[in-house]
Symmetry: C2
Subunit: 295 residues, 2 copies
Amino acid sequence: MGLSPLQSIHMTEKNSIKVVDKIKDMQTLSSNIRKEGRIISFVPTMGALHEGHLSLIRKAKEKGEFLVVSIFVNPTQFGPNEDYKKYTRDLESDLRKIKEIGVDVVFSPDINEIYPDGFETYVEVQELQKPLCGQFRPGHFKGVGTIVLKLFNIVKPDIAIFGEKDYQQLKIIQKMARDLHLEIEVIGLPIIREDDGLALSSRNAYLSKKEREQARALSEALGEIRMRFNQGQNDISDLIHEGREVLNKSLIYDIDYLEIRNGNTLEGKEKAKSGDLVAIAAKIGHTRLIDNIKL
Amino acid sequence: MGLSPLQSIHMTEKNSIKVVDKIKDMQTLSSNIRKEGRIISFVPTMGALHEGHLSLIRKAKEKGEFLVVSIFVNPTQFGPNEDYKKYTRDLESDLRKIKEIGVDVVFSPDINEIYPDGFETYVEVQELQKPLCGQFRPGHFKGVGTIVLKLFNIVKPDIAIFGEKDYQQLKIIQKMARDLHLEIEVIGLPIIREDDGLALSSRNAYLSKKEREQARALSEALGEIRMRFNQGQNDISDLIHEGREVLNKSLIYDIDYLEIRNGNTLEGKEKAKSGDLVAIAAKIGHTRLIDNIKL
């Protein structure tokens, strides 16, 4: 036997989970693991973990032989008036939540480690980033693509798992991986929902009790559209109209978009087809939430 | 002993050099070589090889244990009115030139292999790409950064070697490698010149006899500036003026730029200092040539 792959890697141990915070250490560790021929699976997160994240991490545990979770609130994907500062940061609590899954290493770098002075290299998936959230969050997907590419180059996974809740993000990362010849299988997993249908999100924590009530209308609107489609309606403007009625009934008027698009290319269309994506982004009070389903 | 690293890789042999043209084959081959612990050195080129390229390839041979040269005329780095179509393509001749160096594999993919339908992911080094050639060739460095990142992900080198003739390109790739955490040592090597000082370039082949005479003024202008700097002049506008005089004497008036900038950041300045870059781009007839020296 050679040296342990953890040999000479600087890491701390918190809640019995190994935490690495330097890029060089993570890269050395991942290289050592790969040299042993073990499959690295990876779930990148911004922390504030909920059951949605845990479902990804559990699947990653199943699919890989060495499981890395990253926790990093990425500034470059937040707009100037977005919630970067107030985004929940609680590493101890996050570690507690994933403790029983058997994560091998949490990579939790400092912001200056990831974006040192003079950082200026960005990646963009030019077309897929345009519609939906791309229209309302300029620069968001540029920030997402860039941090994910950086994390991929640091963690060097064989498999990376993302949630379908951020559907456009998932498609962008899959395209980026293909276009840049990354040898990483990028897997998307279904949305996890509350009992009333609300998609789990770290941002649900911002909702007041009354807003939480209203928020169920998002998934209800998507459900209404799918029901009507299943009944034979396929005119998209009609379907969207029905969805908006549901939202308005719950006094949700601040709707960034409610759209039906091709589920692979995200291209717009006039007639709905099986496999199409129905996606919504709306503000409940000050909280912007997104959700989607497939027809 | 296990299987040969070349086992199951599809390749042809031309002029006794192994040529791989599929991404997947190149990636598998490079993975096999890396698993053996051998150091991969890499020189990306657009073919039309001259002594400048050969100096890079020889150095790469020295520094690595498995030497890959790529030959690919990259469309995304040419502007709409540039010389993409007429750029010299002669694989047989290129292979003949590098035959005696001992290149292990030439990677020479088809354009559709590198840019399949739907390709849309690009990388940009935002600040370094702005001055000098960036001002006159919009999109050029976006194309360069993107193809180099793709080639790095395909060839997976430990060491990559570029010429200092494309000085801004070298700086951009070094920055990209740092910013994206690529574990690749990006090395720049000095310009190789003709006896009269003209920097070697594949585009020199476009010059008429008379233009070839004129072209020596480019390096002469740079030399004049350096000489005056060494004599104690450091006012940049004065130095540039002297350089332009040399060009004009040779009837070169179509000058994209003649500038002195910080050799690392490429930032503009007023007073010249040791280590600064003096860079020029000018058209001789229809042929755009570049050159540079350090003070």
